[in-house]
């Protein structure tokens, strides 16, 4: 059992406490998706599972990549690779705000001593064709989470509505632990025999990826891979629902969605390389959105998406 009282001492303890808390609230604690994504929302456990009528409750950590945010590990709070904690519950329970506040208590924030506020912030993902209404949650003037009621995903109205919580883990942990520079944050327990800081784990990779993202990544290859991912996504979805080999109805929403995620990340890499002009940007975002919509269309044709067998 993870200790849930007093102040946490490390980055990983905060993660573990969140996992324990949301597990106790009945969420399926899932693992990160095994692909490069820009945010926890891209995990199929959120994007696809927020579609259709079937109830769902999941919580997970998702490593997220934003190539343009790379700062060679020097900026106190900007990283090209960071972690989000993501909770998705469908239908959104009436006490979701209270559950959320409970999670803050679980990671050691005394809500009688702090000023917690829900400040209007509507969420929109042009690449996923998704939007929702909600807030950014402030703790003493700092944004610690994003709280959204999904209204539309992949162009589909959400029925029922999912409630989504996203915690920016590094920033939240730095606040709870009182750390000014992310690289100084204890990753494991500071009294462990081999105490590791966030910098010990990630400073070098931040440097390596910053260099690659900004200056080295072969843009011709990336452009080509984008086209291939797009083509593959469409090819997968154009298959007949009935598998000729097994004779079963198998709609391949997830494999297609993997290609959509890939295209999205490739676009982010190209963007970081500065080879996409302002006008082209919109066109690329539109292409990824078109894939996301097709995947959403396919998912609602599956059993998990509520399609009656």
């Amino acid at each position: 059992m993870v200790q849930q009282t007093g102040k946490p001492r490390s980055f990983q303890e905060i993660i573990l406490r969140l996992q324990a808390y949301w597990s106790e609230q009945g969420c399926a604690v899932m693992q990160p998706y095994d692909m490069e994504v820009g945010a926890g929302t891209f995990h199929p456990a959120t994007t696809l599972r927020s579609l259709g009528s079937k109830p769902w409750a999941a919580a997970y950590v998702q490593p997220s990549r934003r190539p343009t945010d790379g700062r060679y590990g020097e900026n106190p709070n900007r990283l090209q690779h960071y972690y989000q904690y993501q909770v998705l519950i469908k239908p959104s329970p009436p006490n979701l705000q209270e559950l959320y506040l409970g999670s803050l208590k679980a990671i050691g924030i005394d809500i009688a001593l702090h000023d917690i506020r829900f400040v209007e912030d509507d969420w929109e993902s042009p690449t996923l064709g998704a939007w929702g209404l909600g807030w950014e949650v402030w703790c003493d003037g700092m944004e610690v989470s994003q709280f959204t009621y999904f209204q539309q995903v992949g162009g589909h109205d959400c029925h029922p509505v999912s409630g989504e919580l996203t915690y920016g883990l590094e920033r939240l942990a730095m606040y709870v632990l009182g750390i000014d520079h992310v690289m100084d944050m204890p990753f494991n327990d500071p009294d462990a025999p081999i105490a590791l800081s966030y910098g010990d784990v990630f400073r070098q990779t931040e440097q390596e990826y910053s260099r690659w993202n900004f200056d080295v990544a072969n843009t011709d290859v990336l452009f080509k891979q984008f086209e291939e991912a797009e083509a593959e996504c469409e090819a997968i979805l154009s298959q007949d629902h009935e598998d000729p080999k097994t004779g079963k109805r198998i709609v391949m929403a997830h494999p297609a969605y993997d290609q959509c995620i890939k295209a999205s990340h490739l676009f982010n890499l190209l963007d970081a390389r500065g080879v996409i002009s302002v006008t082209e940007r919109q066109a690329y975002i539109g292409r990824v959105r078109a894939l996301a919509k097709k995947c959403a269309d396919a998912f609602v044709q599956t059993e998990a998406g509520g399609h009656a067998a």
């Binding site: 009436p94 009688a112 702090h114 000023d115 400040v119 003493d140 009621y149």
Partner: protein, 751 residues
């Protein structure tokens, strides 16, 4: 009579929507109740982050019984018609009354609509209000289908009678059942409680740490903030918008004042203010002695054991991180500024202004060239104006403006000062964006207003050149605002400029840039020569013809035939120019209308000589508007119209224009002779007044014609049998028209 209390309790309502929502709740509920016959004495609506509340005093206990006489068919009407009437009116035949009407005996039904109890009506109107609430954006939640701004949790709806007894109105919507309970503050409240009426409700909310009235919260915040600042010898920088927003973010405001780190105090006050306001919703606290912003005020939503120490420390830390960024930008920018800003200017070569109109750098070159042309006309030094235009947008490359776009211009001024540029140039960097709105200050310094005019005219001509004019409500490039800016700069400063010339030369500039790639060298050279000559000739057309005439004497003259580039540009520029001037006229009309001048009065002054001189149009229109308020002026218009009608009818009939000078020798009666004399005098007076630009005098001279014109029409018949006399009189009317036209085109006046 009972009082009604309604509270719609939800998750946090965006601050910017609360005020409007309270008003809408009041309007929709009271309209609905009154329509159903339920009047009330007094209504109040309130909002907090989590609730909308409506309190009505003196509501009728039930709606009054209404009786209505409904007229039916005649007694001898077909049976079917009578049955239909009975069905529609909901009465039986015995209840019908027969009355004698003109057309015979007719059935009447007395229909009585019994009054309904207040609760029933309230429930119905409330359901309609909740389901059709005009939120700017609304959402669904959970598995339901109800829409609200955020999830709606509970509804309190009670009628309280004179004895203070409360009854819950029976009402439910999508599983939310109305009751008599609510809750207080999210963190400090003690759970749900029941209320018996509005006073009880407001008092219990306060006990549970909720101030219901947003105005009371705002007042409390302002009072407390200014008191705390005053105690330290400081003052809070007033910001009404921020105050209203912050009052909408808290139910129980707790004002905390904090320090800004010493290392940030040298940042420009606007940077501190913007950063604190935009990101943190902090008020700025100024030291009146130094003028510096030294502290901040934040408003928390909770009282804590440590009196806000933890909250303040957290906020201070967030602020420090933000200001570290700002300081980093400022220090980097200052280094660049002191080095002369050339790198910033160079960078603008890579920034697209608009796809067809090219880069920011190209735009700046065009603005600089135009600024040079405008400068001498408005009393600015051409060199300074050009220099100002070249650096005015350099700050777009700075890190600070990248982070806070709203600081553009202002940062430009700071950086130009740091670069050691002349004060007029630095001032222009800030002022050339002005005026941004109808009430924004207008630049007055010659260099500033020169760059401001050049910038706006370049933008307008550019979008006209690529045919991206505003349509309907779509004006993505804020071209209406740009045109209004030009108008206000010209009028407020009393500038005398002929816009045509600048519009023409800038349109041609754009056409040259747009065609540079596909045109031949000779064609570009020719167009550039025309550009040089516009200054000489005053307008494009004359300059263009002169250049083409000259070229055609040579053997290797560029193609000017049908479909050639030169011909196309030659045809297009005057059309676009006329169209853009008409756009200016439209904006001018809107602007002057706000100052009390009617459209038709302005129309009467637009198309005279100097239609591209906005000051002249406005001065004429004002003089005309004044004269129309006098008896002479008003009657003159009638006389003029009479003259004009007779004249145009005769011209149509005879197929000629009566514009030969009339001859006084054919005048038959004294009134006719007097009119001759009066017209002669008016013509001279108007010409003199126009020359002196004394339009009041010109209008007065015109108005003096009223008496002789009236007398003339009184005494003579224009269309007489004597042809010579008739023609002469028509020519006399023609003269009235011509002379008045020197002052104003009265045909444009309505009524």
């Amino acid at each position: 009579m009972p009082d009604l209390l309604i509270e719609l309790f939800s998750e946090e309502i965006p601050a910017r929507m609360q005020r409007r929502a309270a008003d809408d709740l009041k309007a929709k509920m009271t309209d609905g109740l009154v329509e159903a016959g339920l009047t009330y004495a007094h209504a109040q609506a309130f909002s907090t982050p989590r609730r909308l509340t409506l309190a009505l005093e003196g509501v009728l206990g039930e709606s009054p019984t209404v009786t209505e006489d409904r007229k039916g068919p005649r007694v001898d009407a077909p049976e079917k018609a009578i049955e239909g009437f009975l069905r529609g009116a909901g009465v039986s035949r015995e209840d019908l009354e027969i009355r004698d009407e003109k057309k015979g005996q007719v059935y009447f039904a007395k229909i009585t609509k019994p009054g309904r109890p207040a609760g029933e009506i309230v429930a119905q109107v409330l359901e309609d209000t909740v389901r059709n609430f005009p939120w700017p954006k609304s959402m669904r939640w959970g598995a339901g289908s109800l829409r609200w701004v955020r999830p709606l949790h509970s509804i309190l709806c009670i009628l309280t009678d004179d004895a203070g007894e409360a009854t819950v109105v029976e009402f439910d919507i999508d599983g939310i059942k109305a009751g008599n309970t609510t809750q207080g503050h999210r963190f400090m409240g003690k759970g749900r409680f029941a209320v018996s009426g509005f006073e009880d409700y407001q008092a219990k909310l306060k006990r549970d740490f909720v101030i219901l009235d947003p105005q009371e919260r705002a007042d409390h915040i302002w009072q407390d903030a200014t008191n705390q600042a005053f105690a330290s010898g400081l003052e809070v920088v007033e910001d009404k918008g921020l105050l209203a927003e912050v009052a909408g973010l808290v139910e129980w405001p707790v004002v905390l004042m904090g320090e800004i780190g010493e290392e940030f105090l040298d940042l420009p006050p606007e940077v501190l203010q913007t950063s604190m306001k935009e990101h943190q919703k902090f008020f700025s606290v100024k030291n009146p002695k130094t003028g510096r912003i030294e502290r901040f005020v934040t408003v928390a939503n909770i009282e804590t054991e440590d009196h806000g120490a933890t909250i303040l420390a957290g906020n201070q830390k967030v602020l420090s991180a933000r200001l570290s960024d700002a300081k980093f930008f400022w220090d980097n920018d200052l280094r660049e500024a002191k080095a002369g800003m050339q790198a910033w200017i160079d960078q603008l070569d890579n920034v697209t202004f608009e796809r067809q109109l090219g880069t920011q750098a190209a735009r700046i070159s065009r603005i600089a060239a135009l600024a040079r042309e405008i400068a001498p006309k408005v009393g600015a030094k051409a060199d300074l104006a050009e220099q100002a235009a070249r650096v005015a947008k350099a700050d777009l490359s700075s890190e600070m403006v990248y982070e806070f776009p709203e600081l553009q211009g202002l940062m430009g001024r700071y950086y130009a000062e740091a670069a050691g540029l002349p004060a007029e140039v630095a001032a222009a960097c800030e002022a050339h964006y002005s005026p941004l709105g109808p009430s924004d200050a207008v630049p007055e310094a010659p260099v500033s207003l020169t760059v401001a005019l050049a910038d706006k005219i370049d933008t307008l001509t550019g979008f006209w050149a690529i045919n991206q004019k505003p349509t309907g409500s779509k004006d993505p490039f804020a071209l209406r605002r740009a045109a209004l800016g030009v108008i206000r700069i010209v009028l407020d400063n009393g500038l005398r400029v002929h816009l045509d010339r600048f519009i023409d030369s800038q349109l041609l500039h754009h056409k040259i840039s747009l065609n540079r790639k596909k045109a031949s060298e000779g064609e570009i050279d020719t167009l550039e020569e025309v550009l040089d000559q516009i200054g000489e000739f005053g307008v494009f057309g004359a300059a263009f013809r002169a250049v083409i005439d000259k070229l055609q004497k040579h053997d290797d003259a560029p193609d000017t035939g049908e479909g050639s580039l030169l011909r196309t540009v030659g045809d297009l520029v005057p059309d676009l120019s006329t169209d853009l001037l008409a756009f200016f006229h439209d904006r001018l009309k809107v602007y002057l209308k706000d100052q009390g001048l009617k459209y038709d009065v302005i129309d009467a002054c637009l198309m005279l000589d100097g239609g591209d001189d906005l000051w002249l149009i406005s001065a004429r229109a004002k003089a005309l508007s004044e004269i129309l308020k006098t008896e002479d002026g008003e009657n003159l218009v009638q006389g003029f119209k009479r003259a004009n009608n007779i004249l145009t009818q005769a011209e149509e009939k005879d197929g000629v224009e009566y514009s030969f000078g009339p001859d006084a020798r054919f005048a038959e009666v004294p009134e006719e002779k007097d009119l001759f004399a009066a017209l002669e005098a008016a013509e001279a007076d108007i010409a003199k007044a126009n020359k002196a630009e004394d339009f009041t005098a010109a209008m007065e001279a015109m108005a003096k014609l009223r008496a002789p014109i009236d007398a003339f029409f009184e005494a003579v018949q224009v269309n007489t049998d004597k042809d010579v006399v008739r023609r002469n009189r028509l020519n006399l009317l023609g003269k009235i028209r011509d002379i008045c036209l020197q002052a104003a085109d009265l045909t444009k006046l309505e009524g």
